[in-house]
């Protein structure tokens, strides 16, 4: 059936198309531009709001202490002793991945450690000689002291680091100087397998 040859005759209404049309294209283009502007502003506002709110509500905490407190892991409470130093591995957790360099993304785990020394005398202070060394698995650490004899440590390591050694010294610190009272209080050797850290945390 060819076009315009329906089974009935077309109605002769073409006259109805003969009417003056108002100028609508220019107004339509204006409407489009306004809409584009409004949408652009909405996108800018949403992006700005996202940039402000995301770090506040969705970003993992970047402070190592709170990161270890909030991450998934186990309360181990295992004691480790070396020389004049006694320590308790309080908590071991799996931390989120981190990008050290554009081509170097790593998985991490963290340890909370409480250290105490009975070898110190009044006025002496327990100090850790741990150094950050990503090539040997040590990423970062933080220490806090409750008194001179005790130390609390939060450390992060590259996943797969099976054991770590943490040397301690005793220091006498004055107002303007510090001197070494105990050059070697002991070096804690923490072996993840030996102290029973689950594989999924440290590997």
């Amino acid at each position: 059936m060819p076009d315009n040859e329906s089974d009935d005759r077309p109605l002769q209404l073409r006259d109805l198309a003969q009417t003056e049309s108002p100028e609508i294209v220019r107004a339509a283009l204006g409407r489009f531009r306004r809409r584009l502007l409004v949408r652009g502003l909405i996108v800018v506002l949403v992006v700005a709001a996202g940039a402000i709110l995301y770090p506040r509500y969705f970003n993992p905490p970047r402070d190592l202490t709170s990161e270890i407190q909030h991450a998934r892991g186990v309360e181990l409470l295992r004691s480790v002793t070396a020389g004049g130093v006694e320590a308790t591995v309080v908590r071991v957790v799996r931390l989120s991945g981190e990008t050290l360099a554009p081509d170097r993304a790593i998985e991490r785990f963290g340890i909370q450690l409480a250290v105490f020394s009975r070898s110190l005398q009044p006025g002496e202070q327990l100090v850790s000689l741990l150094e950050s060394d990503p090539d040997h698995g040590i990423l970062s650490f933080r220490t806090g002291t409750s008194d001179n004899f005790a130390l609390e440590m939060w450390m992060s390591f590259v996943a797969g680091t099976r054991s770590i050694d943490i040397p301690f010294v005793g220091v006498v610190s004055g107002r303007s100087s510090a001197r070494l009272a105990h050059p070697s209080l002991g070096t804690l050797h923490i072996d993840m397998q030996q102290i029973g850290v689950p594989d999924w945390i440290w590997r």
Binding site: D3, R9, Q18, V25, A28
Partner: protein, 153 residues
């Protein structure tokens, strides 16, 4: 040819489409503007599978459908304030009354094919019906119109 020139070439028939389906000049103008504003947004997606005319009418139809959804079918009555051709005023009123008596889908089919002169195939493309279904609709619409207006046309 730039977009504005293309739109301008089809401005009148898009306006007539709305004018003759709604019978309301200011509403037709508003819906026409909305049609071209939407066409600006979707111009980048136009692949040329259909003619520009069919593409614009398809957008116009969606604008009409959206308007009816928002406001209801009663929002497209056939008023008699629509500018009309220079014919006998009583004849014009009778034509508009006959057109206004049709359901909106029948009115649309008559406007597309018998007022604007599109082919039933184009009408089918615009309304999203298959060609036979559109022809049936057009046939019934013409019969309804003749029933109301008389067989003079």
């Amino acid at each position: 040819m730039d977009l504005e020139a293309i739109f301008r070439a089809h401005q009148k028939e898009i306006f007539v489409y709305f004018l003759r389906t709604t019978g309301n000049g200011s509403l037709a103008e508003d819906l026409g503007q909305e049609t071209f504003a939407r066409a600006c947004s979707s111009a980048v997606f136009f692949r040329g599978d259909s003619s520009v005319r069919t593409w614009l009418f398809a957008i116009a139809r969606r604008v009409m459908v959206d308007h009816i959804r928002r406001r209801g079918p009663a929002s497209v009555p056939m008023d008699s304030d629509a500018p009309g051709p220079a014919v006998d005023p009583s004849d014009r009123i009778a034509i508009e009354q006959a057109l206004g008596a049709l359901p909106i889908t029948s009115r649309e089919a008559v406007v597309l094919c018998d007022v604007l002169g599109l082919t039933p195939s184009e009408g089918a493309d615009i309304t999203g019906l298959n060609a036979n279904a559109f022809r049936v609709r057009l046939h019934r619409a013409r019969a309804q119109f003749r029933e109301v207006y008389g067989d003079a046309r």
